[in-house]
């Protein structure tokens, strides 16, 4: 028996109900397609050969990014990417996944009134021991004592500062020479691509520190390594690597640090 207390819903505008129904269905399709298609496309790159072979039985050319199935998925994600961007439903759900990082980066500024060195730092010195005398301004997010701290706030600052550096970690098979050469290329490329961001950060942070303008401001990367469950004390570091330099008297241009020559070099045009 119908509920006499209930307002009949048949009075509601039918055209708008149809449109809303269509929206609900499309939204459901979006959620499923966007999440799973993106996941499968990312998975393809790391897929083992036996998995690829098995997959070829269903979608022969999919592992080679070809064929109807791949095109269908790519077309689908093209549309869902636009929709996710326009409505800000970004759907990136890989928190602490697939792996958990074992490096922790903090930026710091080294404010020095020393004249920029004419000669390079001695070649045998490691990057971690590069020294220019001056005052170090640490990030507000870096604990002053790794044994004892309480953190409240600054999470957006952490996110912002995490984006200031590329991922720098030695690979197992690399020689020391190969490591520094790879670091040099990465620092150079990253600094060139992000010169506005790095330069802006350095100048803003200097202003925020209320220190007098020095002759040179060096952006340092302070790296801590998590030793792992069998590694004794839980963290090692900081390992400090100069990353870029700003000389206020020379305008706004940044120089990148070359860990091979231990010099700051101008960015290529």
């Amino acid at each position: 028996m119908p509920d006499s207390n209930f307002t009949p819903r048949s009075e509601l505008p039918q055209q708008r109900s149809f449109l809303l129904g269509l929206f609900v269905v499309l939204q459901l399709v979006f959620l499923v397609v966007h999440n799973f298609f993106n996941y499968l496309q990312e998975l393809r790159d790391d897929m083992r050969s036996n998995s690829r072979a098995a997959l070829r039985h269903f979608a022969p050319d999919w592992p080679e990014k070809k064929g109807h199935v791949w095109n269908f998925m790519e077309g689908g994600t093209f549309l869902t990417n636009r929709w996710s961007q326009a409505t800000l439903q970004l759907e990136q759900w890989s928190l602490f996944a697939p792996g958990v990082g074992t490096d922790c980066y903090f930026p710091a500024l080294l404010l020095s009134d020393e004249a920029p060195p004419d000669a390079p730092v001695e070649p045998e010195e490691t990057a971690a021991r590069f020294r220019v005398r001056g005052k170090v301004v640490l990030s507000d997010n870096e604990p002053r004592d790794m044994d004892r701290y309480f953190r409240w706030g600054n999470f957006r600052l952490r996110k912002f500062e995490n984006a200031l550096f590329p991922y720098l970690r030695p690979r197992d098979e690399e020689t020391p020479r190969e490591i520094v050469e790879r670091y040099r290329d990465k620092i150079k490329e990253f600094t060139k691509e992000n010169a506005d961001m790095l330069g802006g950060y350095v100048r803003y942070r200097l202003k925020q520190s209320r220190e007098a303008q020095p002759r040179q401001v060096i952006l340092l990367l302070r790296q801590y390594l998590l030793t792992g469950p069998n590694g004794g004390y839980f963290v090692e570091g900081p390992f400090t690597l100069p990353f870029a330099r700003w000389q206020p008297e020379a305008g706004n241009a940044l120089e990148y640090f070359d860990p091979v020559t231990h010099r700051f070099e101008p960015l290529p045009k």
Binding site: D3, N5, F6, T7, L12, P13, Q14, Q15, S17, L20, G21, F23, V24, V25, L28, L31, Y39, D46, Q85, L88, Q89, L90, W93, F96, A97, P98, G99, V100, G101, T102, C104, F106, N141, E142, M146, D147, R148, Y149, F150, R151, W152, G153, F155, R156, R158, K159, F160, N162, D196, M197, L198, G200, R203, Y204, Y224, L226, G228, Y233, F234, V235
Partner: protein, 465 residues
């Protein structure tokens, strides 16, 4: 002794009910109305946390995160709003190519809707539930929106003309086109009214549109011929991101709209404004947000589309004051579509996280949460202060992995649903205690709010009184 039967409470359905196809139409979970209190709880929770977020994390660092010259700004993140991306921000100024494109598409789309409206026979009032007054679907609101799109389109064109010093001054082209369309609209509305098919309100809107756009055209001719500069207009049209004062104004408007949304004051408009400002700020700097902010943006998008101010709102109080006493006592229900889509979203959040984690060696070995608790960039306390035994972190790692991957199944089975959801709450509380992830935990727990039987709780309190 048996209790006397309670008189049946009058029930009123608010909002639209979607016309769903099979199999959703036959699935009660998608079709049975739910108490409006559940949606209201979501609205209040989300908007309150957003307001706190704006006041505590965005406003104090506004210059650093968004302004030019502090490591952010339009130059640093210009790639983020460039084609083929559709990430838009009104704070990039009306002259921004994507904003200009969206204004043009909106203006053309609504214009076609109005033209279609003219040639469609009027729907009799009884077929529209006795609403009366409007002949068809494109009502006064959309005609006003069409006018606003037209005004915005002219502003977008002027900003581009001003930013091309070498180009010929052609301020008149956009207002001339838009005003010509408004003139045609006015003429058609007059004819329709004479034929007895139009409405006075539509005619008034068309006349106002012509006056506004005609004024813009006159101004454009002045700009073209007299080489006049209007600094205030130029400032308003330029990217607000490049103007510290206007950036602060926008942030304050964002906070005001979030506050209004929490209170349920002009709820629909507040939700739309919150969505626009939220999207505009988030798209200015993609380097400062985490998954919690993504969840926030998704919820705001849904709140804009559903009747989230039907209860527990100033709008409802206002309605009650102006309604007969019988209607004021009604229990309000809504269509569950928004809550269901958000639940599907919650399931996908956990399941996709679980899938990605399956690809990580640390998750299989059970060391992931050990590393997370040692991370000196985001933990609330040092691991040296609280050295959680390794077996505990291993057990927790595997439990989380199992729970995330199995979440769709766990919430599908009646017996495991509540334990799975309570596990989620506990998991997030532990994250909040151990890690500084901003508002990630409050925002994701907001998605759990509609799962609580708020209507029962409030009614039992009411009866107890």
């Amino acid at each position: 002794m048996s209790a006397s039967p309670q008189p049946a409470e009058p029930v009123r359905f608010v909002g639209l009910e979607p016309a769903l196809p099979w199999p959703l139409a036959g699935w009660r979970w998608w079709t049975e109305p739910v108490a409006a209190e559940r949606l209201a709880a979501l609205r209040i929770g989300l908007a309150s946390f957003l307001l706190i977020d704006i006041l505590c994390t965005y406003l104090p660092n506004l210059d650093m995160f968004f302004a030019e010259g502090a490591g952010s700004g339009a130059r640093v993140f210009s790639w983020y709003t460039q084609a083929p991306r559709w990430t838009w921000s009104v704070l990039r100024g009306l002259g921004d190519p994507l904003i200009g494109t969206l204004l043009l598409l909106g203006w053309i789309g609504l214009g076609l809707g109005i033209v279609f409206d003219w040639f469609t026979p009027p729907i009799p009032p009884f077929a529209r539930g006795g609403e009366g007054g409007w002949p068809s679907g494109i009502g006064v609101k959309w005609r006003v929106v069409w006018l606003l799109f037209g005004v915005g389109l002219v502003g977008s064109s002027w900003d581009r003309v001003w930013n091309q010093p070498e180009a010929e001054l052609l301020f008149w082209i956009a207002p001339c086109t838009v005003a010509a369309a408004a003139l045609i609209a006015l003429a058609v509305e007059i004819v329709l009214l004479l034929l007895g098919r139009g409405s006075r309100a539509a005619l008034i809107v068309a006349a106002v549109s012509l006056v506004v756009l005609g004024y813009q055209l006159a101004l454009a001719i002045l700009l073209d011929t007299q080489d006049v500069d209007i600094p205030v207009l130029r400032r308003l049209l330029r990217p607000w991101q490049e103007d510290a004062a206007l950036l602060h104004v926008a942030a304050i408007l964002w906070a005001v709209s979030a506050g209004m949304l929490a209170l349920g004051c002009l709820t629909r408009s507040a939700a739309i404004a919150t969505f626009v400002f939220n999207t505009s700020f988030v798209n200015l700097n993609p380097n400062i947000d985490n998954a919690g902010d993504v969840i926030r943006c998704i919820i705001v998008f849904y709140l804009m589309l559903c009747p989230c101010g039907a209860v527990w709102s100033l709008d409802r109080i206002w309605q009650r004051i102006h309604q007969p006493a019988a209607q004021a006592r009604e229990r309000i229900v809504i269509s569950p579509w928004a809550l269901r889509l958000l639940f599907v979203q919650l399931v996908l959040i956990y399941f996709m996280n679980g899938l990605y984690k399956l690809g990580g060696a640390n998750w299989w070995s059970g060391d992931s949460l050990y590393y997370v608790l040692c991370d000196v960039t985001l933990t609330r306390f040092s691991y040296a202060q609280f050295p959680v035994p390794l077996w505990v972190t291993r057990l927790a790692t595997w439990s989380v992995l199992l729970w995330e991957v199995g979440f769709p199944l766990l919430v599908s089975v009646r017996w495991t649903r509540k334990p799975a959801l309570w596990f989620g709450v506990l998991f997030h509380v532990c994250i909040y205690v151990s890690m500084e992830l901003g508002n990630f935990v409050p925002y994701i727990l907001t998605l759990y709010l509609p799962l609580l039987p708020w209507e029962k709780m409030t009614r039992s309190r009411f009866r107890a009184k």
